[in-house]
C-alpha cells in the first residue's frame, strides 16, 4: 500500500468537505475567545515576568536591571535550586505513574455496571473536593506519628509505622499518597473516555473469542490513549506545580525534604522579596514543563490512536 497516496487521498477528501476560501477564517473565529483571553490575561503578565527576570526587584522598592545575573545565580550559585529540582522530579516520578494507575484501576472497576456505582464514584471523587487548609489538617492528623490513624492501623497489623511527616525519608511518600488521594478528577476523565469506547468493538472481540487481557490490551488501551495522553500531561504539570499542600502540610520539611520547586519559587518572591529571581525560577520551570510536555506529545504519534483519523481506514477496510 502506497502510504503517500493514502495521505494525499485523505487530504483531498478533507479539502473537498470544507471549502477553502471562506473557511480559513471560520476556525479562527471559533478560537477567538481564547486568543483574546490569551492577550489580555496571559501574554501581558507573562512578558512582564520575563522582563522582570532580568531585574532585581524587591517589590518594596524599584527594579534595577541586572541582566542575566539571576539566571547565573540560579544555575551556579544556589544549591537549593538543584535540590528543589531533584525533589520535585522524584515526586513527579513516583506520583504520575501511581496517580494514573490508581485512577485507571478505579475507572475500570466502576465501568463494570456495578450496583451503586454512583455512590462509589462519589466516594472516590470526594477527596478532590477538599483543598487547602482543611486538606492539610486532615492529613496532618492521619500522618501524625503519635496520634494518627495510619500508624494506628499499621500497629494493629504489627507494623511500626514511620514518622511520616518527621522523617525526611518518608515525607515525599506521604506527599505522594496524600496527592493521589485527590485523584478523583483523573478517574472521572478516564471514566468518560471509557464510556466513549463503542460497545460494538467489545462485542466483536467476544465473538472472536478474546479474553479479558487481550480485550484490555487491544481495545481499551488504544481507544483510551487520547485520554491517557491528557492525563499524563496534566499529571506532570500538576506534579511540578505542587505547592499548596506542601506549603500547608509539610512546610517544605522535614529538613527541606519536601521543598518542592514551586515552593522555592514562591518563597523567593514572597518570603525573600526577590521578585526578579523568582520570575527567573518560574520561567525555568515553565521551560522544563514545556519540554516534558512536548516530549510526551511527540511520542504520542507512536502510541495514541485517534478514532477520527481512523474512520477513513475503517471505510476502506
Amino acid at each position: 500500500m502506497d502510504i503517500s497516496l493514502d495521505i494525499k487521498k485523505r487530504k483531498r477528501k478533507k479539502i473537498s468537505i470544507f471549502k477553502i476560501k471562506r473557511d480559513t477564517l471560520v476556525p479562527y473565529l471559533f478560537i477567538m475567545p481564547w486568543i483574546l483571553g490569551f492577550f489580555f490575561f496571559t501574554l501581558g503578565p507573562l512578558l512582564f515576568s520575563l522582563v522582570i527576570s532580568f531585574f532585581d526587584w524587591p517589590i518594596i522598592g524599584n527594579p534595577t536591571f541586572i541582566g542575566l545575573a539571576n539566571y547565573k545565580e540560579m544555575f551556579f550559585e544556589d544549591p537549593q535550586f538543584w535540590k528543589s529540582l531533584g525533589i520535585t522530579a522524584k515526586f513527579a516520578g513516583i506520583f504520575v505513574p501511581l496517580n494514573i494507575s490508581v485512577a485507571l484501576i478505579l475507572a475500570l472497576l466502576l465501568n463494570n455496571n456495578v450496583k451503586g456505582s454512583g455512590i462509589f464514584k462519589t466516594l472516590f471523587y470526594m477527596p478532590s473536593v477538599i483543598s487547602g487548609v482543611a486538606l492539610a489538617m486532615i492529613w496532618g492528623w492521619v500522618y501524625s506519628d503519635e496520634y494518627g490513624i495510619l500508624n494506628y492501623f499499621l500497629s494493629t497489623i504489627g507494623i511500626q509505622g514511620p514518622n511520616w511527616l518527621g522523617d525526611p525519608n518518608w515525607a515525599t511518600f506521604a506527599m505522594v499518597f496524600a496527592s493521589v488521594w485527590g485523584q478523583g478528577t483523573m478517574m472521572l476523565i478516564f471514566l468518560a473516555g471509557l464510556k466513549n469506547i463503542p460497545k460494538e468493538l467489545y462485542e466483536a472481540a467476544d465473538i472472536d473469542g478474546a479474553n479479558v487481557v487481550s480485550k484490555f490490551m487491544y481495545i481499551t488501551l488504544p481507544m483510551l490513549s487520547p485520554t491517557i495522553l491528557f492525563n499524563v500531561i496534566t499529571s506532570i504539570i500538576g506534579a511540578f506545580q505542587q505547592l499548596s499542600l506542601a506549603l500547608l502540610l509539610t512546610g517544605g520539611g522535614p529538613v527541606g525534604s519536601t521543598y518542592f520547586y514551586a515552593m522555592y519559587v514562591y518563597d523567593n518572591a514572597f518570603k525573600y522579596f526577590k521578585m526578579g529571581y523568582s520570575a527567573a525560577n518560574a520561567w525555568f520551570m515553565f521551560l522544563i514543563i514545556l519540554s516534558l510536555t512536548l516530549l510526551v506529545f511527540k511520542s504520542s504519534s507512536m502510541w495514541v490512536f485517534y478514532e477520527s483519523e481512523a474512520t477513513i481506514k475503517k471505510k476502506k477496510g
Binding site: I17, F18, V26, P27, F30, P33, W34, G37, F38, F40, F41, T42, P45, L46, F48, S49, L109, N112, V114, G118, I119, F120, T122, L123, F124, M126, P127, S128, V129, I130, S131, G132, M137, I138, V142, Y147, I149, Y152, T185, A192, G193, K195, N196, K199, M223, T227, T234, I237, Q241, S244, A262, A269, A279, M285, F286, L290, T293, F297, E307, S308
Partner: protein
C-alpha cells in the same frame, strides 16, 4: 455463570477496600466537626464522639458572615461555569474540527499556558486588574472564564477528536454552516464532557483560595474558601470550627456531583453512528 459472579464479587471487594481507604480521612473530618475539643486528639483514636456537638456547625457558621461568603461564592461559580462551557467548547471545536495554518502551533501555546505557574502571573495580573479598577470586585474571578481555559479546551478537544467525522459530512450535505454544526450537532454530543467540565469548574471556583485572596480586600466580598481560611490566623488553628465549616462547604459540591454523574454515564456509549 459462576465465573461472572466471581468476577463481580472480586470487583465489589476491591471497590469496598478502596472505598474504606478513601473514606477514612473523610470520616475523621465529619466526626471531628462534632467533637468537643477534649476528644479531638485522643489515642487510640475515637471514631465516634461520646457527645455530639452539633452546635459546632452553627457556632462556626456564625463566627464569620458565611451567608455573605456563600452568596459571593455562588455568584462566581454560576457565572464562571456558564462562561467556561460556552467559550471552551467553541475553542475546542475550532481546534478539533478544522485544519488551518498554525493550528498545531496555536494549540501548543494553549497547552503551554497550562504550565504557567501562578507565581509568575499573579503580581502582574494584580497590577493589570488594579489598573482596570477591578480589584476588590468579583470580576477578576469571573471574566477570564469567558475566554476559555486551557485545561478544558484540551479536554474537550481530545474528546472531540474521538468522534468520527462522518457526522460533519452528513451535515454539510444538508447545507449547514460550521456554527450550526457546532451548535446543533456537536454541542449536544458533547454533553457528558460538558457536564464534566462544569463539575470541574464548579469545584475549582468553589475551592479557589489564591484568586480571592489576592483580588479581594473587603471582607464582605469574600468567598467561602477565603472565609474558611479565617480560622487559620498567624497564631493557631481553631480545629473543630475549621472541620465543621469544611464539612459544610464540601456538601453542596458533593451533592451536585452525585446528581450530575448520572449524566456522564448516559448518552456517551454511542457516537451517533450505528453500523
Amino acid at each position: 455463570m459462576f465465573k461472572k459472579n466471581l468476577k463481580k464479587t472480586c470487583v465489589y471487594i476491591i471497590l469496598i477496600f478502596f472505598s474504606l481507604l478513601f473514606l477514612a480521612p473523610f470520616f475523621w473530618l465529619l466526626t471531628t466537626s462534632v467533637k468537643g475539643p477534649e476528644e479531638v486528639f485522643l489515642f487510640p483514636p475515637k471514631w465516634i464522639p461520646t457527645t455530639w456537638h452539633f452546635e459546632n456547625f452553627m457556632k462556626a457558621w456564625n463566627l464569620q458572615p458565611f451567608n455573605l461568603f456563600l452568596k459571593n461564592s455562588l455568584i462566581v461559580v454560576v457565572l464562571s461555569t456558564i462562561g467556561q462551557v460556552f467559550s471552551s467548547s467553541l475553542v475546542a471545536f475550532g481546534f478539533a474540527r478544522f485544519e488551518f495554518r498554525g493550528r498545531n502551533f496555536l494549540f501548543m501555546i494553549v497547552l503551554a499556558t497550562m504550565m504557567i505557574p501562578w507565581d509568575v502571573t499573579m503580581i502582574p495580573l494584580y497590577m493589570q486588574f488594579n489598573f482596570l479598577g477591578w480589584i476588590n470586585t468579583l470580576k477578576p474571578l469571573i471574566v477570564p472564564s469567558y475566554f476559555g481555559s486551557a485545561f478544558f479546551i484540551f479536554l474537550l478537544r481530545q474528546f472531540l477528536m474521538g468522534i468520527p467525522k462522518d457526522l460533519d459530512e452528513a451535515a454539510k450535505i444538508d447545507g449547514a454552516n460550521a456554527f450550526q454544526i457546532y451548535w446543533k450537532i456537536y454541542l449536544p454530543l458533547m454533553k457528558p464532557a460538558l457536564v464534566l467540565i462544569s463539575v470541574f469548574n464548579i469545584l475549582g471556583t468553589w475551592n479557589d483560595y489564591l484568586g480571592p485572596l489576592i483580588f479581594l480586600n473587603d471582607q464582605r466580598k469574600y468567598t467561602l474558601s477565603l472565609g474558611l481560611s479565617q480560622f487559620k490566623g498567624m497564631n493557631g488553628v481553631d480545629t473543630t470550627s475549621m472541620m465543621a465549616i469544611t464539612t459544610l462547604i464540601c456538601l453542596p459540591p458533593l451533592i451536585m456531583f452525585f446528581l450530575a454523574q448520572k449524566h456522564i454515564i448516559d448518552g456517551v456509549s454511542s457516537t451517533g453512528l450505528k453500523g
